[in-house]
């Protein structure tokens, strides 16, 4: 049992002894034990499977950066009775409950009333919420309809949280034993309110003796090798490591606990530096960085441009690169050379290479990368070819075999990788390794050993 778990245990026991006294909650904050957080999603579209619950995933990750671990995620439809019941249960179990959805002006929007019913608080008009709604309608040149002011009714004692992107303010309600936060359901609005109005307050709550966390993002190294490298570092006992593996990527979360914030921050800084040094070129970023955003920043910093020649990924690498706003500054373009004719005609891959070695070969991938660079005048050309499956594999060239090449002013390097999984998984892994190839080229790093 680690130090943090012991704190939590102690707080839970104390809370039980003291009869759920508010003072105990303060104690938990004081010792900065990870809070028992529950997320409650209100949305019939999630219940029906029409929408993926990206809100819960986002909030879970962001709360993780405070060292807070979700205990449960619950989704209910936009129905008052179902919501009331789920709210009552969550308020009973958790120290912090965050809801998303059901805060707008329509009759589907049932959250404020359900909170009032579940807590026994009356719904009262809120001056600040009404001002927010009026301001929003005015700024967007829309006529204020009476129904819109329903959004200004809040459970007594709740503070309205500003929402720059929508009409519905969020709610912050400190109950005797639980903190209840209600956020809008539209993902953009939810994120805005969380980042601007909720996270700063949670950080203040969590101030004092002390916890600090960081997230180190790696690509192209497996969990086992990271574990091995970190074991040799002998990090201090008050630094906890969490590994979050994805396809061809592992996120490393470090959490330092110490008597004071300053000590926690210093401990974290040292550990973070040591881990980054140990993992070296496999580290591509921090926090919520994406690989495509990091490639973009490197391009801008180096005044580099990129071009792609994709076969098995079929446009996925180009799609990810252009997901980034402002990518037109460095993305010259790409060729999705799915058919061999395209590889020959557009990228200038010699016909004899295709016929002798096949489209999935180091020779062809090299010619593709050089062709993309020549054709577009980009500083870096990246190519990828492979067998995504489910059919098309052979004993010599099985499904999942992928070749990658990077051509830049230092020459052309080729990488061979064998991936496992279904078609979507193989393509996703190939795209990830391709973006890493660009990152390494732009950082003057060698391609990783296969």
């Amino acid at each position: 049992m680690g130090q943090r778990e012991r704190f939590v245990e102690a707080c839970i026991i104390l809370r039980a002894c003291l009869g759920a006294n508010p003072a105990t909650r303060r104690l938990a904050l004081l010792y900065n034990a990870p809070m028992r957080v529950e997320l409650l999603t209100i949305g019939s579209e999630v219940i029906r499977g029409a929408t993926l619950n990206t809100n819960a995933a986002y909030l879970a990750r962001r709360l993780g950066s405070l060292g807070w671990i979700g205990r449960r995620q619950v989704t209910v439809p936009d129905e008052p009775a179902a919501l009331r019941a789920a709210l009552r249960e969550a308020l009973e179990r958790a120290q912090v409950v965050i809801t998303t959805g059901g805060l707008g002006p329509t009759f589907d929007d049932v959250t404020a009333a359900a909170i009032a019913a579940a807590t026994g608080l009356p719904l009262v008009p809120s001056g600040s919420a009404a001002a927010h709604v009026r301001r929003f309608y005015k700024a967007h040149h829309r006529r204020l309809q009476r129904a819109a002011l329903r959004q200004a009714l809040v459970p007594a004692g709740a503070a309205a949280l500003p929402n720059a992107l929508g009409t519905a303010p969020g709610l912050w309600l400190q109950l005797p034993h639980t903190l209840l936060i209600a956020l809008p359901g539209v993902p953009g609005e939810m994120r805005w309110v969380f980042e601007h109005a909720v996270l700063p307050r949670l950080r203040r709550l969590a101030r004092g003796p002390a916890l600090a966390a960081s997230m180190i993002r790696t690509v192209g190294i497996v969990e086992l090798r990271i574990e091995h490298a970190l074991r040799r570092l002998r990090l201090p006992a008050n630094v906890e490591v969490g590994l979050y593996p994805h396809l061809q990527a592992v996120d490393v979360q470090l959490t330092a606990t110490a008597p004071t914030a300053r000590q926690a921050a210093r401990t974290l800084r040292q550990a973070d530096r040591a881990v980054r040094r140990a993992l070296g070129a496999f580290v591509y970023g921090s926090g919520e960085d994406t690989l495509e955003a990091v490639v973009g920043r490197l391009c801008v910093a180096r005044r580099a441009t990129v071009a792609l020649a994709e076969s098995c990924t079929g446009g996925l690498v180009a799609k990810r690169l252009t997901d980034v706003a402002g990518s037109s500054r460095y993305m010259r373009g790409g060729i999705v050379a799915y058919h061999n004719d395209m590889k020959r005609k557009l990228l200038g891959v010699p016909a004899h290479l295709l016929s002798r070695h096949g489209a999935v070969s180091p020779q062809v991938v090299r010619a593709m990368a050089e062709g993309a660079r020549r054709l577009t005048g980009a500083s870096v050309g990246l190519s990828i070819t492979g067998i995504a499956g489910p059919s098309g594999g052979s004993a010599k060239k099985p499904v999942g075999l992928v070749y990658l090449a990077v051509a830049d002013r230092r020459g052309t390097r080729v990488l061979r990788r064998q991936f496992h999984g279904d078609r979507a998984g193989i393509r996703a892994q190939a795209a990830q390794v391709a973006l890493d190839g660009l990152r390494r080229s732009l950082s003057a790093l060698p391609l990783p050993a296969p």
Copy 2:
């Protein structure tokens, strides 16, 4: 209150009166009321936000095809105590509980033991589960380790469900008041077990007087227009319509209830035909069809090939087309012409069109589509150019303005659309409309009116 809701109400009241007697459950099945289903996801990676809960969304959609509506989705970490508590609560509330995750051979895999604890049933060795595990290891030439046989311990009375893709069998456990189904957590395995071993059994359970459902998938028509069209149809009272809107797509679910299965099927067939006729060219498919798969099938049927010239979507359309296994039969390739040089050099867009009208113009998009077709020799060339934002817009050409062109042997048609939303939303809508352009070209349909 519709007919089905009345049935449910009656069943709930009856169940309460009869003291949760199994007979009442049979009654609910008999009348085919939509079952109260809860989904329980077991997975620390979802709790931490490292993975999106795609399993719950998939199951919710598939259960919807039986007319069954989820009442709640709950996610808990891989921790015995948390799982036991959530299981007990779900078994108390629901008629059907489906869990995903925690069925493998490692110590994180806690589901079978938690079910045993929550139901008071002992864990016993299952011959069929053991046979499944042995067979799987043998088929994959792996040595059977003792830990693997932990997967053959099941709560007494549970049947093992075959799993062709993994070692962990699923579980089917009929309790006095509730049906409990445990599925593996790996999405591919979960889907396989659900489709092959669970859905057929659920359909048998639901047999008798009678419910039939279908899903009609549309693209390019808004919810309001569909509602309007369907209102004029005057569908019979025993057909319910559910509309599930996505970006530039609305799924229309029809559910017919009738005294006999034959009558339900006939009513559904008539309603389905009437709705398809009313929505005409906006209907692209059925069930779980994707637009890219439909485009693929049309290409194969027509022996057509396609080529793309993408600007604002940056490879997203090519990515979606090549998501489909076997797409190499018809996908010639694509040009991601992000920079104007690429539009000129590769696609042969005349420089004076670019300078006079700008890259986002009907003239340039037309030249791009024709260029892609000429360059690749494909039967259909599709191009798309626009302003995905967040910057780059102007009063005359605002963010979200997109032009699309389709070039085929009948000539070139251009479509102008104005989308709203953030960068990702605008790109997703543009890709959807682009794939619809291909579908319409391949079906000899005109492009939709703007």
